[in-house]
Symmetry: D3
Subunit: 247 residues, 6 copies
């Protein structure tokens, strides 16, 4: 159930049965020579919609631009400052709290968002924690990375082993191939498996990872693998959501 495709009266009815909502968050950033700039947003959106259907949960519109400062050395990458993204998430949650939502389940497509989204949760909680005696209903936020389940991990391990890497991974590229088969790109990847390492700002990143990939060989991606990964992620996350929202 996409929030965008409901009327306000349908949302009002939904709130009679559930106080939970799913919020996909991705990023708009380079994913190597063959990966799409929207990879992280696409993965989060596709899997969130699957989870929404599987768990009868409302899905908010995707936050497509996340925290991706380290990718700014590559054309097309966009970032919000962490302080901006914190403000965005606070406003979004504050808006939904107004209507009675109490459980905010973020499905995330980008490792670079984790720290800032987690900090945003604390910013949101702080406003409540500073009040001595609030009669506001308690709220809870949860961040779930789409690749963060045993089932997805096992598939990626089976299919790609060490060539999964950590950026522009064959797994995430596969999910986008499954979602947008008309936008599959090919490119010469040299070396086939990209170097590994850590990084600081955009210049440092580009210097160490000249084509944008980290430790991965996305040439291994296939739409079929994307389908498997998607289904596994949806099943695992839908289960996690149902358990969490029920508490």
């Amino acid at each position: 159930m996409q929030l965008q495709l409901q009327t306000w009266q349908e949302v009002e009815a939904y709130l009679q049965t559930s106080r939970g909502i799913i919020l996909p968050i991705g990023s708009t950033e380079q994913h190597g020579p063959s990966g799409l700039i929207g990879t992280d947003a696409i993965c989060a959106e596709v899997i969130a919609q699957g989870v929404g259907e599987a768990a009868d949960a409302l899905v908010a519109p995707t936050i497509a631009v996340g925290m991706a400062q380290h990718h700014l050395g590559f054309a097309g990458s966009m970032t919000l400052r962490p302080s901006t993204l914190i403000a965005v998430l606070k406003d979004m949650v504050d808006s939904l709290v107004r209507h009675g939502f109490e459980r905010f389940y973020f499905i995330n497509g980008h490792g670079g968002n984790i720290a800032t989204v987690t900090a945003a949760f604390s910013e949101i909680y702080t406003a409540r924690s500073l009040e001595t005696a609030s009669n506001a209903a308690p709220i809870k936020c949860r961040l779930k990375n789409w690749w963060q389940s045993q089932e997805v991990h096992d598939i990626a391990k089976e299919l790609y082993g060490d060539a999964e890497g950590s950026h522009a991974t064959p797994s995430e590229v596969a999910v986008t191939q499954f979602a947008y088969p008309d936008a599959i790109k090919s490119a010469v990847l040299d070396p086939p498996v990209a170097p590994r390492g850590d990084f600081a700002d955009a210049a440092d990143y580009r210097c160490k990872f000249p084509d944008g990939r980290i430790g991965s060989n996305p040439a291994l991606a296939t739409p079929e693998a994307g389908r498997r990964l998607c289904e596994a992620a949806v099943a695992a996350i839908a289960k996690d959501y149902r358990n969490w929202v029920a508490v």
Copy 2:
């Protein structure tokens, strides 16, 4: 050309031919008993993608949550504070400037965004205007509402006359019906044409417009009208974009 479906190398190539980019911005807010919460984001996105194709222009991901504080009395509506939205737009433009983009053409689906987006442009320009001697390339931003052309105005007038109203209009509902035919909703609209007037905060809005509509009769919307409106909007805006980006 959706930015999300490009690789960074394709964006690099695009920048050899154009310094312009289209950014759709909508809202997530109630649109009356039969209108979708995502109406404004859907209209902006659909028309921006049409313009992107017609004008060979890159289209950034849609900003789905805008400034909609006055709709918070209706379930599902979300807002960014104006100060937050200004920060978001500044970060997005700053990111793209980093790569060499110089013309930022926002296609807008929500009247409530106009003031804040325009203020954001000034915030972006101010950083440059305060520098005495900058060697930065000049940048320009433009806001175009999708309904803001003679052609679209004429169709709406012909089809709906005064029942077009100003919120949850049959025109915008028609565009969403064309875009999402499976999500067409029906509802008893009483009175058929909603009251008119101005408003302040969310409580004031809900008090004056109990079902969320202003001056409109969205029951008149049809997918076919949506198609006509879309095509007219795309043609008019693509022309405007091409002229503007060429200067």
Copy 3:
């Protein structure tokens, strides 16, 4: 009634009879070779004081520095960033709400303020709209440009036709000549009627409008015309204020 010339006990008495207040807002920016830098603040102030007398309304001190980033290429121009101006307006309104004021009528002298002031209204409203059940008295803000009435428009049309232009207009210069007859400046205006067009940042503005004017011939201004314009504006706005504050 200027707020600045009242005692707090007089304001307390005023609040027994009215919850409205008028807030003039102008700008400090170049107005061409013969226009005063304070033109917009002077126009807003003079007309606001007239309205205050005509409508028995309290008039707050003039906000003299507005959003004028595009004029920074000309000596003496000052700007607040939009985000700063939003904070200023929020603090001012919040202060007055503390005392029981509920209607905030801004008389504006500068087109460049419109978007930011309107965004500030939304910022102010958002704080209230995000609260589920507030027992705060409802507040309303209204922005009225001093030139925004049929009567004023007709006089400007009659006197100046197309030479009214849009910046450093003979109308606004006339009002300042009426208000400050000792500060009337003359300058060679070449061409007599300035070019028209749009603009982005300060460098862009200065490049397109080398002497600061847009589309205007302020040499046509006279103090007598200023008097007529002032009187027409005061009458029209006082009527609008009285109607608005009564609702």
Copy 4:
């Protein structure tokens, strides 16, 4: 020389001879039963204009609303948050630096502004101090309270002794009587000399100083004393300004 009454070309010419500018800053707050709400802004403005004439210096428009949170218990008082006022002062100085101004001399009418204005100077300097090797021209800011000279102090002492007090003083009321003889108010002051003490927030202030005055007997004020105080202040400050701007 009021900035507001100059053209941009006159300012450009002024900058050939001086890099200094005077900025009056006051407050909009209760001044007891007989003092004007605009007292601090009026004093700062009148004296700044005198100094401007005496020292051939440009005078910016008055900042009429300052930091006056402690007066919010009395109708008509307005405040900017310290963080807002810091942003305002930074934007104003940044704007003027753009044109080549380098010396910013604030003439202050309100003790409650001192800390925040001084903090704002540090905020402005910090942006420069954090740069390792800046080629920006050095700038300097100075805060001068209008009552802060031996000459003014002596007159106040002679005329009022201990009844000068520290808020709604006969000195400042006298200056406003001199400036606005038509707005002289009278009120029963009971006790004639108000209590003294410190204060925290608005509730605390109102509790300790029920009519708004601190330690003063403004009934002693006369327009003639206002004239003397004004002249003494103008002379002393003009001298200080000339010395300071010359370094």
Copy 5:
């Protein structure tokens, strides 16, 4: 080498040999009935000073108040909002960059800081990543939790097994007992091993963990264990620091 005990000339000399600095960051928050409120700051400080000596590195003053909103239900706990802590860390790093420091190694004593500190690094990097061609020296930040090494983990496992828990752990209490033997507290812990689980805001935390501990039995702590843990942490982190700063 504590920065606080150096002269500026000694720091200047240090910069000839190293561009790295260690910054301890802790928290001020309840640590159960027998743990000190300063536990996290004490651990970070003691170990950072040890690392400073072992690695000949400068150690900045300890950031004693961190992000601890979830502990605000217990007296004495203090928090910075995430957005405030981000601003603090940015200012501190910006200050040190001014002098030529390039490697910022944060030794952390509080799990609740991790997300916000990591987001702060991104905020710092973003300012650089948004510049197209910066000639600023590259900087790098690293966060190291004091308990984050195999050696420390092994000792805690050996000594406490599952009773280590995750808040008010015997390990961290032991370190404070070693550091402040005069401040060892005892308390009845009931149950001996505290419950486990996750948490949201302060009310939620207090409800689930009534005495403040999570999963731990701090009664097992001894000063001697604290010594062992300290030494192990210092050795492991000093090695990590030396390797990292050398790159």
Copy 6:
């Protein structure tokens, strides 16, 4: 009583007897060729702990980094922007208010903090003053510079006369020598007594005061003088605290 060495239950017990807390605030900045960078933080901390013992008052952890933008020309100096420091102080006070603290007594070691800390108090109060009818307990903040008592002033005068100066004073250096006898530094001071004057940003400061001192001869400092100054300061401030907190 250091807050850091208490348990939360001890703080809860303390609040039964007192609503006051002492917060030391210093700075991290150069203090001339022989003064420690931590001088201001050390002085504030040592004296605050003495006052805490003398007055049975809780002492919060020291804020070690203050507002020191003017010292950034000397290696090792760190600053918070005034706006950042205001946010920090607000968060700290807000946290403690949550537990029932009502009196916040800041013992300050750095003249450069005074304006910003005072502005922060106003920022904290403003949040309360803007509320019409708050039922929050009243809070009060007080700033006391450690050198701000007749007793301390007399000792400094007796020992150093005019060579006390205003930065890197023999008094403050003496206090650090008493506190950290192992960190006493010596340096050739040329001239023995440093020049005097005012300053703006860091470049201006360094230009006027090449070795960092202002008007002082810190070579006169001795640990024994530090002991006397400390004891005098503790006695005077403890008395002031007890009086203030009792009201």
